[in-house]
């Protein structure tokens, strides 16, 4: 007979038994709680960042949860210092807590050393902080991915992506969330290092719209920000009218590309058909309305 304790925990998952708390390692060497935290971000809004010739870009797409919501109140992109910005995805309250922590770290670094915190140092500190939540029994991991974009006189423009396990790497271009595969491919193809921020921003709008294509029926909006010479190398949201214009252009470009795709598909098919029908064209009684050859067996 099963005890009441057992009855409460009938979970038929891969990590069965080794996934009850974050301080347990499985026999394969995995920490399932951390993996589950990463799942929290896998199906959430896409976030992405790119390092350009003269600065850094950040962007995210967010589903509009309700028409009654004041637009802009569901913030994902924040300024941590004048020259550092952060974007969050996954469990959003967790993400906002991390942004607060980042602001505290930056303030205490500046107070102690007199210089603004650099992107790499902040990213390392936040990564350590997130990792701390993956080793103690009483805490759970933060269920969010964050991208930190920064500009400083030590490292120039930098971009770091941090995941719930506390892993932190520097990137030229990175993405997380639902559309990350599409975004990563597009970013690689783009080669943003040779574009200015202004040019790359249009492409970012395009990529974000592309990531959203499977959910066309659901309304969504973009949040984009940059650190570039136009903003004096400080972190600012993209001006609203500029963003709108880019989105409209992005939509049009995507539609054109989609049409071009369809047209090229049609062209391929026509080629195949042409070969067939021209062969049979001379033999009129043997071609039906669809252009197919009728072969009569001669007795």
């Amino acid at each position: 007979t099963q005890s009441t304790w057992d009855q409460g925990f009938v979970i038929k998952m891969a990590g069965s038994g080794y996934d009850y708390d974050v301080s347990t390692l499985s026999p394969e060497g995995k920490i399932y709680q951390v993996e589950y935290a990463m799942k929290a971000t896998e199906n959430s809004s896409t976030i992405l960042g790119m390092v350009c010739k003269d600065g850094v870009l950040l962007g995210t797409e967010k589903l509009i949860v309700s028409e009654m919501m004041v637009s802009g109140s569901d913030r994902r992109v924040y300024s941590v210092t004048k020259q550092i910005g952060m974007v969050i995805t996954g469990l959003l309250p967790d993400g906002r807590c991390l942004i607060d922590r980042a602001k505290e770290e930056s303030a205490s670094f500046q107070k102690q050393y007199g210089i603004p915190i650099t992107g790499k140092v902040l990213a390392d500190r936040i990564a350590q902080f997130m990792h701390m939540n993956t080793i103690y029994l009483w805490a759970r991991p933060y269920g969010c991915n964050i991208i930190i974009a920064a500009f400083d006189e030590f490292g120039g423009p930098t971009l770091h992506l941090i995941d719930p396990s506390g892993q932190c790497f520097g990137y030229f271009g990175c993405a997380a969330g639902k559309g990350r595969q599409i975004a990563r491919n597009e970013i690689e193809k783009l080669g943003a290092k040779n574009l200015t921020c202004k040019e790359a921003a249009f492409n970012m709008a395009k990529i974000l719209h592309k990531c959203h294509e499977e959910m066309k029926e659901k309304k969504f909006e973009l949040e984009m920000s940059w650190i570039c010479p136009e903003t004096g190398m400080t972190h600012q949201m993209l001006p609203k009218d500029m963003q709108k214009e880019m989105e409209i252009r992005a939509q049009e470009t995507l539609e054109k590309e989609a049409m071009a795709d369809v047209q090229s598909q049609i062209m391929k098919n026509i080629n195949i058909c042409l070969l067939y029908t021209s062969d049979a064209a001379d033999d009129t009684p043997c071609v039906d309305l669809g252009g197919r050859r009728i072969i009569k067996k001669k007795k």
Partner: protein, 217 residues
């Protein structure tokens, strides 16, 4: 009576000086540490290393300034590890300032922090008793600095060569040591450039003030 001197703290009476020249920064100090009227150490080193290219000059209460320099060294080395680059001289000066300012009622310390970093080149920051932080091209400190101010104001010019700077500093510090009873011994010099740091000392028989003074024109 000698007994009153026993409870006087050990002081760097001192003459300290730092000058930015074309290509680096040079630090100079005398070497006398006193306990009242007793010369406690006549060959002391008032030029403390903080980091590879950052040094500080100490004046005031010896124990206070040594402790501050030690803590500054600790924090600056942590900063250097985090940044993975040469830490800015400004940060070292800021750390010194935070101690002197926040504990000013307990401390009697005035320090000069000087060095070289890749972003701003050679720099000097003074942190006097109250805890202000000022960046300068030339800084002097200690009880002996008053006696050389006229000479320094007349003969300092920006962008000197290394040799001009060295001669200028040796002359100034000798003048201060000549008149200030709390300064004396030998002159220690440290030269910081982007290529490295070199140390030397000018011993008593090489000081320019054995004969009547002839001014550098």
């Amino acid at each position: 009576m000698e007994s009153t001197d026993r409870f006087v703290p050990v002081r760097d009476g001192t003459t300290i000086m730092a000058v930015v020249y074309d290509g680096g920064v040079m630090l100079g100090a005398d070497s006398r540490t006193t306990e009242g009227s007793l010369v406690y150490n006549r060959v002391s080193d008032k030029i403390e290393p903080i980091h590879k290219r950052i040094f500080c000059l100490r004046s005031g209460n010896s124990s206070h300034t040594q402790k501050i320099a030690q803590l500054c060294r600790l924090y600056v080395s942590q900063l250097g590890s985090e940044l993975e680059q040469a830490p800015p001289v400004y940060s070292a000066a800021k750390i010194i300032q935070s101690f002197i300012y926040n504990y000013k009622s307990f401390l009697s310390a005035a320090m000069i922090c000087a060095g070289w970093d890749p972003v701003k080149g050679p720099q000097i920051y003074t942190v006097p008793l109250g805890g202000t932080l000022v960046r300068e091209k030339i800084a002097t400190g200690g009880s002996g600095s008053a006696y050389m101010s006229g000479f320094v104001d007349t003969h300092f010019k920006e962008g000197m060569t290394r040799k001009e700077c060295r001669d200028f500093m040796i002359q100034s510090i000798s003048l201060a040591m000549f008149r200030d009873s709390s300064s004396g011994g030998i002159i220690r010099l440290v030269d910081i450039t982007k290529d490295g740091v070199s140390r030397e000392y000018i011993s008593h028989d090489q000081l320019p003030l054995k004969q009547p003074l002839s001014l550098i024109h």
